[in-house]
Amino acid sequence: MAGLELLSDQGYRVDGRRAGELRKIQARMGVFAQADGSAYIEQGNTKALAVVYGPHEIRGSRARALPDRALVNCQYSSATFSTGERKRRPHGDRKSCEMGLQLRQTFEAAILTQLHPRSQIDIYVQVLQADGGTYAACVNAATLAVLDAGVPMRDFVCACSAGFVDSTALADLSHVEEAAGGPQLALALLPASGQIALLEMDARLHEDHLESVLEAAARAARDVHTLLDRVVRQHVREASVLLGD
């Protein structure tokens, strides 16, 4: 039997999207009352929850405190029930640690850390269901959570993945498309300035194609921004209705 056809001659992907289209995104802010900020996002079947504490005093060893800016601490975990087969270890494995570091890099670039020297900001992200593009979902959820916590940022950080199939760049890969083994690129963008907070790819892709894939990922990240912006405005409107008269 032939393998899956990722992109049909008519230009449709396995799940019916066109090359540049995102999956359906739904998000909510302020899902938990105890935390300083929290958010929940669904990108297709990928579902992630982010919680933010801080800025607050350094917990644990005081030596970790930075004199000129806040420490961003990120922890990533994915639920044991997030994939088709039950996972053994929800966090602390190599992949989770790496993801945590990437998230930290991303948010150190976006949060105005110099406003809170000698303090700490904790971002905890958990993936409830994984269907491709977990990094992107985590970043998007964390952005909303950080906004919800009222931590000052340069801009939204919007992330999206992109792949390359049959000389066409595909935006926002699903699990099936990721599993097919082509190159995959993850991009976190500050949409207003167009600055890149993080760009990561660990497969071989010819230099000539990099530009088109990058372009597809950036366009998708801007689309994500539009949606997140709408979610934030909606949330603020609701909150002000509750607060105000």
Partner: protein, 958 residues
């Protein structure tokens, strides 16, 4: 715009796993019909015709589109490919099912879809909001798909009503499944079976023959007698193979005996094993090249390979008993010692059926519509086809495809695909030999042609980027007469410092063929241009091969130049490569160039340039031969064609002039220089050509043959072989040296392309060069295009692309190129053989002198120098008493009665055309001198009837 729907799927991946996938339904998928306001602007690609008028069908006179289901597509693709069938809607459901079930059909349907004249539209129904169907409880996948197809057909009919209420466009559902059809009609969808529809096309009666005969009724009528045992299902076969009860292998039918075949078992541990299958029932409907599972029979049923030649002559279904009798004859002939593992086919793992060329054997009953088809390849069984145009197809070469082989049928069932033309007709025979050698020769598709440059073409500013202007140089080309694809040109001039500048300019084909596009893919698939006797099958479209890339004189052309600075001793001081633009001053033939060099009166720039080149070439050649390059010989012939009829009127062996070797010498030099350069730059993925040294055992025949003439041939190195060949001369027998060289050629290995990262032996034995590649003929060889691209990247004149630096992709490409080159060679030889036949047909019976090339146990192989023709004379024939034959392996010689034949002996043979078998005409030759009673024939038997069954001693062309 997006509606999301999630559904669950279970798959088997070791265990059961739950898979959740999203499935988006869209409302922006167009219906493909032009002028549809509802889906305006949504259609892309090929679109259906607004008013499909033809083909006129008596069943549905209104304009309509067709909507076939999966089985129709799978089995009746030959019908759908016919130009008469247009405006077909292919559903995504159907396409996916086809893709999972048959890759070749999928490829064909994609080709058809891409052909804009066919107006095929692929409708993505699975993602359309209104045509998506969810699997219901208790419904299997097949039923769901059938329902999805019906829903789509219904949607189409309602949708089309909206746009054109007055002219009533219809969509007709084509299915061969009875239940499906009934359900469709119940739901109000006009539905027909493929057969009904095709028969209703009154304007195109010939389509009926292309229908694959799968109708169930047909099978019912046939006598229910079951001949073959059932094939086991695939799952059982796999179990059996795992446990070792069955063996998997490739089925190879015997050419000689239709009741016998062998199966090559590819074992992991032991070497390839051969299993014999004998008898119709044990062969159990396997066809040549199928992958089958066999079961070994107990040892007491093992048989020996029979030496009997049996051809299937039967016409009737009922002579199965006779068949069994024949099988018994085979078995009694067995000899205890020669018994080999014997088995029977229990199941087919993979069919490798392709369309077969052959001829129709018309049924004896005049009105019968069922006829047997005899393929040209003897290993393929005869195929039963149904046709009404039998009398029109008689004596024609036709193509037939197999549809199936039911258990109760002696022959497989098939259907007529194409009529190639009359037997013996030059065009038809050429087509047959191209098909049989798998040479792609269809005209270039629209997609390929779309990548050609637009005419009128001229060199632009952009083209001159990274390119040197060498138009001022006095460049000329030297080629055989009538050559239109000139891919090389040369120049030579004296520099101010007294040295010589020599340039080889090769057509810059890679400028026009950009990596990865359809044109590139097609050229890579073809691999090489095939030169037949009167025809050329181009690798690239004619606009490129004979015009834009051809370095014709007095026009500006793009080239890839290799320029050396040499001293007068032909030592290379400097070499550089550059893309360039040139303007050839003259296109000469070898003879013209030779004349210019020789005539003292001419002293123009071109002539001086040629003289300089010739001088250098001589030095280069001498140096090359000193290094041990071989000069080999093969009898090459050229036909003189009649300019009107293109029939061969005379043949002659090729003549070699100094200028031939002059051009050759510089081409070799360029190839070697380029090989060095690209290997230096890309040590892992340079495309090179190697010629391995033959194993010493290959030379045995040559050494023995020379010994019989008291000559010694040394074969330890190429150099000693070349030297001893030069010394091997006999004053009384001037042709001996050529004969020895012909023999030496037979000992050689094939030269092959390879990727430098996949191999470490680069040596080219025949040219005595440590490294070699092909650079000089990009118009006719794809390998050269790749080498051009590599070199262009190496000198920074062009950009690279991923496939170029992927050594596995390159190795795959080399494999295809080697295969195509081999097939092209075979096709060329077959073409020469066919033209030799034509020549002797017109010439009648002739007697010629010949030399013995090989001596076999029961035959001699002779070569006729005048025609470069080679053939075997058998001294044993059935229906005749065997002569006394004594074979001596050492000398080698063959004694027949009292006459002894040695290798290189001169004999006289009679040549004639044997057309007793219309499908396999051959040249036959018979011995005239020396005379052996009962064996040889007299030189002047004028009225020998060549169709006479009692033939005299003949010689058969290989």
């Amino acid at each position: 715009m997006l509606k999301s729907k999630t559904f669950l799927k279970k798959t088997r991946a070791g265990g059961v796993m739950k898979i959740v996938r999203e499935h988006y339904l869209r409302d922006d998928i167009g219906c493909g019909a032009p002028g549809c306001a509802a889906c305006d602007g949504a259609h892309e690609g090929p679109v259906l015709e607004p008013q499909p008028l033809d083909p006129a069908s008596s069943l549905c006179p209104r304009p309509h589109y067709l909507l076939p289901d999966t089985n129709v597509l799978l089995h009746q693709i030959d019908v759908l490919e016919d130009p008469a069938i247009r405006n077909v809607i292919v559903l995504q459901t159907v396409l996916q099912e086809v893709r999972n079930r048959s890759a070749p059909v999928y490829k064909r349907i994609r080709d058809v879809t891409n052909n804009q004249e066919k107006h095929f539209y692929t409708f993505t129904n699975e993602h359309h909001r209104e045509t998506y169907v969810e699997q219901e409880q208790g419904e299997n996948a097949n039923d769901r798909n059938d329902r999805a197809i019906r829903v789509a057909a219904k949607w189409y009919n309602e949708h089309l009503k909206k746009i054109s209420a007055e002219n009533h466009l219809q969509v007709i559902f084509i299915t061969n499944d009875k239940k499906n059809k009934e359900k469709a009609i119940e739901e109000g969808i006009p539905a027909f079976t493929c057969e009904e529809y095709v028969k209703s096309l009154t304007a195109n009666p010939e389509l009926i023959d292309r229908l694959a005969c799968l109708s169930e009724e047909g099978n019912e009528i046939e006598s229910g007698r079951i001949i073959f045992s059932e094939h086991l299902p695939l799952s059982k076969l796999q179990q059996g193979i795992k446990s070792g009860t069955y063996l998997q292998g490739t089925f190879r039918a015997s050419r000689e005996n239709y009741l016998e075949a062998t199966v090559w078992v590819h074992g992991d541990t032991e070497d390839d094993k051969e299993i014999i299958l004998q008898g119709l029932k044990n062969l159990n409907r396997a066809v040549h090249e199928d992958i089958v599972a066999v079961e070994l029979l107990p040892k007491n049923q093992w048989v020996a390979p029979s030496s009997v030649v049996l051809h299937d002559e039967g016409q009737n279904e009922d002579d199965v008993e006779k068949e069994e009798e024949r099988e018994r004859i085979l078995k009694t002939a067995a000899n205890e010692k020669m018994l080999k593992p014997t088995g029977r086919v229990v199941g087919i793992i993979k069919r490798n059926w392709r369309p077969y060329c052959g001829m129709l054997s018309k049924s004896d009953i005049k009105e019968s519509r069922r006829h047997l088809f005899t393929p040209a390849d003897r290993r393929i069984p005869r195929i039963r086809i149904e046709t009404r145009q039998a009398s029109a197809l008689e004596g024609r070469r036709i193509i037939v495809a197999i549809d199936g082989w039911p258990r109760n049928s002696r022959y497989p069932n098939g259907h007529f695909v194409k009529n190639l033309g009359d037997v013996g007709d030059k065009e038809t025979e050429t087509e047959v030999l191209l098909l049989e050698h798998d040479v792609p020769h269809q005209p270039f598709s629209q997609a390929v042609l779309s990548f050609l440059p637009k005419m009128p073409w001229s060199i632009t500013e952009k083209d001159m980027k990274n390119r040197e202007d060498l138009r001022h140089l006095c460049v000329c080309s030297v080629d055989p007469p009538g050559c239109t694809d000139i891919d090389d040109a040369l120049h030579c001039r004296e520099l101010e410092n007294g040295n010589l500048e020599v340039g080889v300019h090769i057509a810059d084909v890679s400028h026009f063929i950009r990596p990865g596009n359809a044109l590139d893919q097609e050229s890579a698939r073809r691999g090489t241009t095939v030169y037949l006797c009167e025809k050329r099958i181009d690798m690239v479209p004619e606009l490129l091969s004979s015009n834009l890339c051809s370095l014709r004189c007095n026009v500006d052309r793009l080239a890839f130049s290799c320029i050396w600075e040499m001293n007068h001793n032909a030592e290379i001081l400097k070499v550089r490569f550059t893309k360039s633009a040139i303007n050839s001053k003259a296109s000469l033939t070898y003879a013209e160039a030779q004349m210019r060099i020789d005539s003292a009166a001419m002293n123009d720039e071109i002539t001086t340039s040629l003289r300089g080149l010739n001088k250098l070439a001589k030095i280069l050649k001498k140096r090359r031969i000193e290094k041990g390059a071989l000069t080999l010989s093969s009898p090459e012939v050229r036909f003189h064609m009649d300019s009107e009829t293109h029939d061969p009127i005379d043949l002659q062996t090729k003549e070699l002039r100094e200028t031939n070797s002059m051009v050759e010498e510089f081409m070799l030099l360029a190839n070697i220089s380029v090989a060095k350069k690209i290997h230096e730059e890309f040590s892992e993925h340079a495309l090179l050509r190697k010629h391995p040294a033959p194993p010493p055992s290959n030379y045995e025949i040559l050494v023995k043959a020379a010994k019989s003439k008291n000559l010694e041939i040394k074969t330890d190195t190429a150099k000693s072989l070349a030297d001893s060949l030069d010394r091997a001369d006999s004053p009384t027998f001037p042709y001996l040296n050529t004969l020895l060289r012909i023999l030496a050629t037979r000992c050689m290995m094939q030269a092959v392309y390879f990727c430098s990262g996949m191999d470490n032996d680069f040596h080219h034995y025949g040219l005595a060069s440590p490294i070699y590649t092909h650079f000089t003929s990009p118009i006719r060889r794809y390998a050269d295009i790749i080498v051009h691209r590599l070199l262009a990247v190496a000198i920074g004149a062009d950009c690279t692309y991923p496939e170029l630096t992927d050594k596995h992709k390159l190795a795959d490409l080399c494999k295809n190129l080697n295969f195509r080159h081999k097939m092209a060679q075979y096709a060329q030889r077959a073409s020469v053989a066919f033209h030799t036949q034509l020549f002797f047909k017109s010439k009648g019976i002739v007697s010629e002198e010949a030399y013995i090339l090989f001596v076999r146990k029961n035959a001699i192989v002779v070569l006729i120098p005048k025609y470069g023709l080679e053939g075997t004379v058998f001294f044993e024939e059935k229906d005749k008493p065997k002569p006394r034959l004594i074979y001596d392996d050492e000398i080698p010689s063959l004694k027949i009665e009292d006459t002894v034949f040695h290798i290189f002996d001169k004999v006289k043979v009679k040549i004639m055309l044997d057309s007793s078998n219309l499908q396999h005409q051959k040249i036959r030759m018979s011995l005239v001198e020396p005379q052996i009673p009962g064996i040889s024939i007299s030189a002047d038997t004028p009225n020998m009837d060549i169709d006479e069954p009692e033939r005299k001693k003949k010689k058969r062309e290989k």
